[in-house]
């Protein structure tokens, strides 16, 4: 008798009807949006605060560099010693004191600029000062050497390399960014999915053990069926939750943006990247066009098919391990030692994805790890937007499916024995012994 649909239905319905699940489903996007809005609000607040910077310029060279703005007020001090200036800037509650000493030549001046402050200033603030002062002093130096600044400015040429693959596909920097975003999003999604719903499966197995209903159930169904039903049912509940999060989250995001008049999306990387480029003088229309062609350039079909296959196999591989762990122990506190070895490859995969795929999506490290079954789902998903040869995808997938089948068989063995074992926490040695039972 095939009870799988019945088990899946029960697992799905109990998860979805569960109070904490409903609360989490509704509350998570609310909390996330509230958090983003809060951070956006705070950074605005930070910008609103007026920062006073005292300047004691004894060289007289950089008087016109600093012009007060709404958020920064430059308090130019004159006719006093450094010690007096320090006291005054402390009394006026300044962010710090910029001190430029007097020397004859500009180069020496540039080497003796100091910034005094109560607390160490932010790195961006200092580099901002360095850029401003550097520019000014360079100009002064140029003028001193009788070089025409205008001529230099007009002679500057900016280069924009157009990239094209041998087969004629045009690519651009925007392209790579989009690929990166897609890859990272897919890999990270899988990672999150495994952790959240793998744990949920594990808890539900433990619950069946502690409530002692398990023996009644497996006198009616095969343990493997129960395990698979649990995994599939919980995953469906997970997908439901994810879809609700995306729809609800998107909706909330729009509403909050409209109400607060803040574009929350600005805080995200790709947009920021684009804004930066725009400010650097790339015109928007060109950017939009290249954005569009980049999307069209993505191997969409490959992406979708590979995403589904790698996601499903990778998820099933890990969730069957979670189910086996749940069966092996009596309570959640005992799970730690068994969770560790499955968390290691998972976290490794994400880091390899982030660090090496960005650097070189077809390098040795990322290629090798996109073949190793425990890391391949995450790493391969991150690599695919950059175009991975079909044979590599197929080999990796076959390896993954082989491992996945072995893992399900292995987990089912552990599960079958484990669900009827109570009392002591088993050791790894005992787990291996269970396979022979």
């Amino acid at each position: 008798m095939n009870h799988l649909p019945l088990i899946i239905k029960r697992e799905y319905l109990t998860k979805v009807k569960n109070k904490s699940f409903i609360i989490m489903t509704i509350l998570s996007p609310v909390i996330m949006i509230a958090l983003i809005a809060f951070v956006a609000y705070l950074s605005q607040l930070n910008n609103d605060k007026v920062r006073v910077i005292s300047i004691l310029d004894e060289s007289g060279l950089v008087q016109d560099v600093f012009k007060s703005t709404e958020t920064t007020v430059y308090n130019k001090l004159e006719g006093m010693s450094l010690e007096e200036a320090k006291i005054i800037s402390k009394e006026t509650d300044s962010y710090g004191l910029l001190y430029i000493d007097r020397f004859d030549d500009i180069e020496t001046v540039s080497k003796h600029i100091k910034f005094y402050s109560e607390e160490s200033p932010s790195i961006t603030f200092i580099s901002d000062l360095e850029i401003k002062l550097g520019e000014k002093l360079t100009n002064l130096q140029l003028r001193k050497n009788d070089i025409d600044i205008e001529l230099i400015n007009t002679s500057k040429i900016s280069v924009n390399i157009a990239q094209e693959s041998f087969t004629g596909e045009k690519t651009s920097t925007v392209d790579s960014i989009i690929k990166l975003v897609f890859g990272l999003a897919a890999g990270y999604l899988l990672f999150m999915f495994i952790i959240i719903y793998g744990n949920m499966i594990m808890r539900s197995v433990i619950e069946e053990k502690t409530s002692r209903i398990i023996e009644v159930i497996i006198s009616s169904v095969k343990p493997v069926q129960l395990m698979l039903g649990k995994i599939i049912g919980t995953s469906l509940a997970g997908i439901t939750q994810f879809i609700i999060w995306m729809v609800f989250g998107g909706l909330l995001m729009t509403i909050v943006s409209l109400v607060l008049g803040v574009n929350l999306l600005e805080t995200e990387t790709p947009q920021q990247e684009l804004m930066q480029m725009a400010s650097e003088g790339i015109d928007f229309k060109y950017l939009f066009e290249s954005f569009k062609t980049s999307l069209e350039n993505l191997p969409v079909m490959n992406l979708i098919i590979a995403f589904i296959l790698f996601f499903v196999c990778g998820y099933l591989l890990y969730s069957s391990l979670y189910a086996a762990i749940g069966a092996a122990v009596d309570n959640e506190t005992d799970t730690q030692q068994f969770l560790f070895p499955i968390m290691v490859p998972l976290i490794l995969a994400v880091y390899i994805g982030i660090f090496t795929v960005i650097e070189d999506p077809h390098g040795t490290v990322s290629t090798v790890f996109s073949f190793i079954p425990l890391t391949s789902p995450v790493v391969m998903l991150m690599r695919i937007p950059f175009g991975v040869p079909l044979w590599q995808q197929l080999v990796s997938l076959l390896l993954l499916i082989g491992t996945f089948m072995f893992t399900v068989w292995f987990a089912a063995k552990i599960y079958r024995v484990g669900i009827l074992m109570y009392g002591k926490k088993p050791s790894y040695k005992e787990l291996i012994k269970w396979i022979k039972y």
């Binding site: 008798m1 009870h3 088990i7 409530s211 002692r212 209903i213 009616s220 012994k433 039972y437």
Partner: protein
């Protein structure tokens, strides 16, 4: 009468541990079969083999003449000793789910559940969650779920634990009624008085081996000790006691009487008959008590386990 269940030389090892060693039992159709044994003897493993939860390493199990296979899941109802229900699920939903797992259709399961819930007067529990019920209440639900699909074979492991005397009696009557309706019952318990009361056949498992089985009455005959408990009124207790002690193997007995009688257990030698003893005793005084001591299941249990 044919046998419903035949277990033939079943062995099961867990690693180096032998849980069952060539155990065979036969359960006649329509009987109540007592499966006895000390803790850790292998009873639960045997029950799990019958339920196809555990596969035996060697040996065969036949149910109603057929080799045990997954189709038989619907023919067996099992109430494990370690039992429970989903705590946060509603009673009705849960019972429907478990019944469907045993192969009943949803509609059929609902009709039968309504009948049983009314019968046990628990109809208003349908929408309650298990965690709102007491242990005894949950046990009742479990009992209903076990018998709902009208299996040929019912296996109860300590069915009365957790019940108060009134409910334990109620469940006992239900078990007897189910037997009347044609079910066969395997009954595993440590309560020997229920075994005396209910079982037709017993098997005793000790240290993975079956060490005793048969009809309860035959087992008792086999363990007959030829001893009689007697009470006799006499003026001279000491001298009579002495006289009897010389003639038979005696010991002091303990039972309630109205007068101050001499109370003894008297064991007959193989050549003596009860009638000889009776005649002898009536000549010595006024006999008020004469009962053959039948070994209790409890005695048989302890004696057999100790001897092995």
């Amino acid at each position: 009468m044919s046998n419903l269940l035949e277990v033939k030389e079943v062995s099961k090892n867990f690693g180096d541990f032998k849980a069952l060693n060539k155990v065979s039992i036969t359960v006649p159709k329509g009987s109540i079969f007592g499966l006895l044994g000390p803790n850790g003897a292998g009873k639960t493993t045997l029950i799990r083999v019958i339920n196809q939860i555990t596969m035996p390493d060697y040996g065969k199990v036949h149910l109603d003449g057929e080799l045990l296979n997954p189709i038989h899941i619907k023919d067996i109802g099992y109430l494990p000793e370690e039992r429970g229900l989903y705590k946060s699920m509603k009673v009705g939903e849960q019972a429907l789910y478990l019944a469907q797992l045993k192969g009943l259709s949803k509609a059929e399961a609902r009709t039968r559940l309504k009948y049983w819930f009314e019968r046990l007067e628990i109809g208003d529990w349908w929408n309650k969650k298990i965690q709102e019920l007491s242990k005894g209440m949950a046990q009742k639900i479990q009992f209903v779920v076990t018998v709902l699909h009208q299996p040929k074979l019912l296996i109860f492991d300590e069915p009365f634990s957790g019940f108060d005397p009134i409910n334990a009696n109620l469940i006992k009557d239900e078990i007897l009624r189910l037997r009347e309706e044609g079910a066969t019952v395997i009954f595993s318990t440590h309560r020997m008085e229920s075994v005396e009361e209910l079982c037709d056949d017993i098997a005793l498992i000790h240290k993975s081996n079956k060490i005793l089985d048969g009809k309860l009455i035959d087992v008792k005959r086999q363990y007959k000790i030829n001893t009689y408990e007697v009470g006799i009124r006499t003026n001279n207790k000491e001298s009579l006691e002495q006289e009897l002690a010389n003639k038979f193997e005696t010991s002091i007995a303990n039972f309630k009487t109205l007068e101050d009688e001499l109370k003894l257990n008297i064991k007959l030698s193989e050549t003596d008959t009860p009638n000889d003893l009776l005649n002898y005793l009536t000549s010595k005084g006024e006999l008020s008590h004469f009962v053959e001591l039948i070994p209790s299941v409890n005695d048989i249990f302890i004696q057999t386990v100790k001897n092995n």
